[in-house]
């Protein structure tokens, strides 16, 4: 059952990711991220990371995707742009792709992959809560500062966009 679910989630995830990469329609690509993120959440669950899985569903599927769709809709003339895929910098791209491929393959080969018996994973939320409030208190509090910076930054940037638009009515 475990193996079956792993391969099911893996096939859905990789298939949807390929669709994201190759579909000419940007909106379809963004929507295809739903099965990609969802199957990732399933893989997290299989690894015993239940909190991460729920976070994946809530934040990536629930929020980041909405943000991406808005980002697409803010793009000027997206309906006319979609369908065109222009390849530029073929030589440089090839070099970067080959270097990435080589390092990934080298990493896979040189890594020792230990095989261990699976034990039934325990729910992680309570342990996470204790760790947040004791050993990892500082990162926990810094996370709130990070969220504050993200919020203020986004507001400032969008405000400047709006100001620029009202000054230059084109």
């Amino acid at each position: 059952m475990f193996d079956f679910l792993f391969y099911l989630f893996a096939v859905i995830g990789v298939g949807a990711a390929l669709f994201v990469a190759f579909t000419p329609n940007v909106v379809h690509a963004a929507l295809a991220l739903v099965p990609t993120f969802g199957s990732l959440a399933g893989l997290y669950l299989l690894l015993g990371a239940d909190f991460i899985a729920v976070t994946q569903v809530a934040i990536y599927i629930g929020a980041i995707l909405v943000l991406m769709l808005f980002g697409i809709m803010y793009t000027h003339n997206i309906a006319r742009l979609s369908g065109e895929q222009v390849t530029m910098q073929v030589g440089a791209g090839l070099v970067v792709a080959l270097i990435t491929l080589f390092s990934l393959v080298a990493a896979v080969i040189s890594t020792d992959w230990p095989v261990r018996e699976l034990s039934e994973p325990q729910p992680t939320v309570r342990r996470l809560g204790v760790l947040f409030l004791t050993d990892y208190l500082l990162p926990f509090e810094i996370a709130s500062v990070l969220l504050l910076i993200a919020l203020v930054g986004a507001v400032v940037i969008s405000h400047s966009v709006q100001a620029g638009k009202s000054k230059d009515p084109s």
Partner: protein
């Protein structure tokens, strides 16, 4: 833990079947005779006018960012809420909850409460900033005329 999530899996599979089965079934049995009338998007009987791709107001984006920030905040609060009572009771249940974690560093209910309060106050600053900048008000007095419609 897997047993609990088997329920989620079953619900997910049923939901998928309910969505996919009618689409496949109807694709198999319906006759295909498209006309321009049938292919036009349905807008409550009105004839659709203009392009479906309009540029949305940038303010939706700000609202979305605010939503994400506070959703992440809620997800950070969840583990805290789950273990808060154990801290308040002086940690008797905590050793069992935390497994091998022995180092509680003398954290009590009050300290744990203050820790979360700091977290919330920092984010409340962000909320106050957004509020003061007027991003929570949808209709602003400074925008006038046709700009409201963009």
């Amino acid at each position: 833990m897997y047993e609990q999530y088997a329920h989620v899996l079953i619900f997910g599979m049923i939901a998928t079947v309910i969505v996919v089965a009618p689409i496949v079934l109807f694709a198999l049995i319906r006759p295909v005779r498209p006309s321009s009338e049938k292919l036009s998007p349905y807008e409550c009987g009105e004839r659709p006018v203009g392009e479906p791709w309009v540029q949305f107001n940038i303010r939706y984006y700000v609202v979305c960012i605010i939503f994400i920030v506070f959703e992440v905040e809620v997800l950070f609060m969840l583990p805290w809420a789950v273990v808060f009572n154990a801290f308040r009771d002086g940690g008797q249940n905590l050793q069992a909850a935390a497994g091998e974690l022995k180092n509680l560093q003398g954290a009590t209910g009050l300290i744990v409460f203050l820790e979360m309060l700091i977290f919330l106050v920092v984010l409340a600053v962000g909320l106050a900033y957004v509020w003061a900048k007027g991003h929570l008000e949808w209709i602003r007095e400074t925008t006038k005329g046709p700009e409201l419609l963009d």
